[in-house]
């Protein structure tokens, strides 16, 4: 086992940053902590590192089965990459990377030559062989990021923790560095946890994603699991665009306004049977790409009548902004081919039939209106 935390709570004054959080990261796994700002993801990361102390009464922290929460941060042997890198500005790239090795007690310290060799190897790994004598101020953002990573790896940590590792980089560099980091992880297989607010980053990079919201972990799972089978409305909303309707569950049917379909065609949050959701008002979620567009309503399917407002076809998919007959905005994604076949254009009227319809009990689900124009 790589890293495990149990029942961690952390408050800053009256604000509860973490509320009884437990997480298990297997050895060699790359896990993303994904959530909006203020969800507690960075606090959790810093507690794992030992940079923050959890509230008294919190559970233990384990590294490779060894309890470390009584150890100080400099004894834990973690690699931490700070959001703004925190490189030592008065040291060269070489000295930055060597720092962790040179502060070791004399007995454990490598010889000067060994340290030099190791730094050279790390510089080669981060593809900055010729930059040993530069200062951080002379590097680009992506280069600094890689130096910070090499510095963290130099001490051969038990786990690598990265706080918004790509947050301060521009979009192109971010994508490149992301792919590079994934390849690197596949080579060295170091237990790693990274914090991000960017769902694409989490879904692309991580083996598993822990989605966090207001101090709690809402769901942990592979990118496929959290994206295709969200357990909670928050996860559903946070990962990708979603259309949301108020609905009713009555005698085996799901009603959206005056239109209904068989409830057995729906999925619920925990892959539980639909019978476990008590009848009454529910929230209905449909992703924009999960609609069939039909001219006529279909038998036993929830067919929502809607009119096209705007069509945006620049891109891989066609974004269709619609408004339902009951006046709710509706976002739909379709293919260029389908658009041409159906001649979808502003003003035309269709029945929208959800292929994948997910329902959650309405209580406790915040009312977030569909965003009409923000794909």
């Amino acid at each position: 086992m790589g890293v495990e935390v149990r029942n961690i709570t952390k408050s800053f004054g009256a604000f509860k940053a973490l509320d009884n959080v437990s997480l298990r990261v297997e050895a060699g796994e790359l896990v993303a902590l994904l959530g909006p700002s203020g969800s507690g993801k960075t606090t959790l990361l810093r507690i794992i590192a030992g940079l923050e102390t959890p509230d008294p009464g919190s559970g233990p922290v384990f590294f490779q089965g060894v309890r470390v929460d009584k150890q100080k941060v400099n004894e834990r042997g973690v690699g931490f990459v700070f959001q703004h890198y925190a490189l030592f500005r008065h040291m060269t790239v070489f000295d930055n990377i060597a720092f962790g090795m040179t502060v070791k007690p004399r007995k454990e310290r490598l010889s000067k030559n060994e340290i030099r060799e190791k730094v050279r190897a790390l510089l080669h790994m981060i593809q900055l062989d010729n930059y040993a004598d530069r200062y951080p101020s002379q590097l680009s953002g992506g280069q600094r990021q890689r130096v910070a990573l090499a510095r963290a790896l130099a001490v051969e940590p038990h786990a690598l923790l990265l706080d918004e590792p790509f947050g301060a980089l521009d979009a192109k560099v971010r994508v490149e560095l992301r792919a590079w980091l994934r390849r690197l992880h596949d080579e060295i297989h170091l237990t790693s946890v990274f914090v991000t607010h960017d769902q694409d980053e989490a879904l692309e990079l991580a083996d598993r994603v822990a989605v966090m919201n207001s101090g709690k972990i809402e769901q942990v799972g592979t990118p496929d699991e959290v994206f295709h089978h969200p357990k909670t409305p928050f996860v559903m909303r946070f990962l990708g665009q979603v259309n949301q309707f108020r609905g009713r569950l009555e005698s085996g049917r799901v009603w959206v306004g005056d239109h209904s379909g068989l409830a057995s065609q729906c999925e619920t949050g925990d892959k539980k049977s639909i019978a476990s959701v008590s009848a009454g008002s529910v929230m209905v979620f449909v992703r924009p790409h999960d609609f069939d567009i039909a001219i006529q309503p279909r038998q036993e399917r929830c067919s929502i009548p809607a009119t096209v407002v705007r069509v945006r076809s620049a891109g891989n998919v066609v974004h269709v902004e619609m408004v339902t007959d009951s006046g709710d905005p509706l976002n739909v994604e379709t293919s260029h081919q389908e658009r041409d076949e159906l001649k979808i254009e502003p003003g035309s009227h269709y029945y929208m039939i959800p292929r994948n319809l997910r329902i959650f009990p309405a209580d406790g689900v915040g009312d977030y209106p569909n965003q009409a124009a923000s794909f």
Binding site: N74, L87, F99, R151, A152
Partner: protein, 300 residues
């Protein structure tokens, strides 16, 4: 790892100098106005700073080189130099230690009473040195409780070396801290945290991360602190009470000047302080250049 990944050289070949020149041209005043302003400030500087300084050196040599040397080699002058150096060599290191500790607390942590602490540090700037001297006289004088206790135990503070050292520490107190606080604040605590995660202990963090990051600002503060310590007059004159033993350089100059057959002597001694002032100025300017170039390293 493929070589496809090459984000190494992002092109920010922006010509800052040319840009600045362009902005200057667009926003500057007319040549006339610039000339008048620059000339008047130069004239002011010459009249109030340069001329007096030249006068000091001129007066010092009015009795010839021999007179100059005689004035500098008296026993009293020797004592005054010794006293000034003693006070400075105690006050400056103490201020370095205090300045590092206080600015570190203030710059890197949030705590209750921080504002009050900053105001207290500025106190010596606000109080007239004479008042400082009087405060110490009240505190250690024979009329006070502390003064009586000291007298009973035969410890002399007032009108002796310790009081000179104490007032010097008091008046030079803010110089180092004041220089360090903004630097510590702007650098934040992330580098220290990074060092800690990498396994460094407190001592290593201080010597290898914190201190190197503030060294130029620290030196700048020390230079100012040093100049102030050597030049201190107001508070010293109260607690020294014209005793020959406790004369510092400024007090000695004053005493020489007040005596009837002064001649070139006070000016000769004054050249010592003036020279220190000039050296300070040069070092200060060099440090400012150094600090500015190290600040460039900061904005990344």
């Amino acid at each position: 790892m493929s070589k496809a990944f090459d984000v190494s050289q992002s092109s920010d070949l922006f010509d800052y100098k040319a840009h600045r020149r362009a902005v200057m041209q667009a926003t500057t005043e007319s040549g006339w106005a610039r000339f008048t302003l620059i000339a008047s400030s130069c004239a002011f500087m010459a009249l109030f700073l340069l001329v007096p300084l030249v006068c000091v050196f001129f007066e010092a040599f009015i009795e010839g080189f021999e007179g100059f040397c005689n004035a500098l080699t008296t026993k009293a002058t020797y004592n005054a130099i010794k006293m000034t150096l003693t006070a400075t060599f105690i006050a400056v290191p103490l201020n370095i230690v205090f300045g590092m500790v206080a600015s570190w607390c203030i710059g890197k942590f949030q705590f209750w009473g921080k504002g009050i602490l900053i105001s207290l540090i500025d106190l010596p700037f606000a109080i007239s040195p004479i008042i400082v001297g009087l405060l110490f006289v009240f505190l250690f004088g024979s009329s006070s409780f502390l003064g009586k206790w000291l007298l009973d135990h035969n410890i002399r503070i007032l009108y002796a070396t310790p009081s000179i050292v104490l007032v010097t520490i008091f008046v030079t107190f803010p110089f180092v801290v004041r220089e360090l606080i903004p630097v510590m604040e702007s650098q934040g605590a992330e580098e220290e945290q990074a060092a800690r995660v990498l396994g460094a202990n407190g001592w290593q963090i201080f010597w290898r991360v914190t201190l190197p990051n503030v060294k130029w600002a620290l030196l700048y503060g020390v230079v100012l602190c040093n100049a102030r310590a050597m030049g201190e007059f107001g508070a010293a004159v109260v607690v020294a009470r014209n005793s020959v033993k406790t004369n510092t350089l400024p007090l000695h100059i004053n005493a020489l000047y007040q005596s009837y057959e002064s001649g070139a002597a006070p000016f000769a001694v004054a050249t010592l302080l003036a020279t220190i002032a000039i050296v300070t100025l040069v070092v200060k300017t060099l440090l400012e250049i150094k600090i500015r170039s190290s600040e460039k390293k900061d904005d990344y």
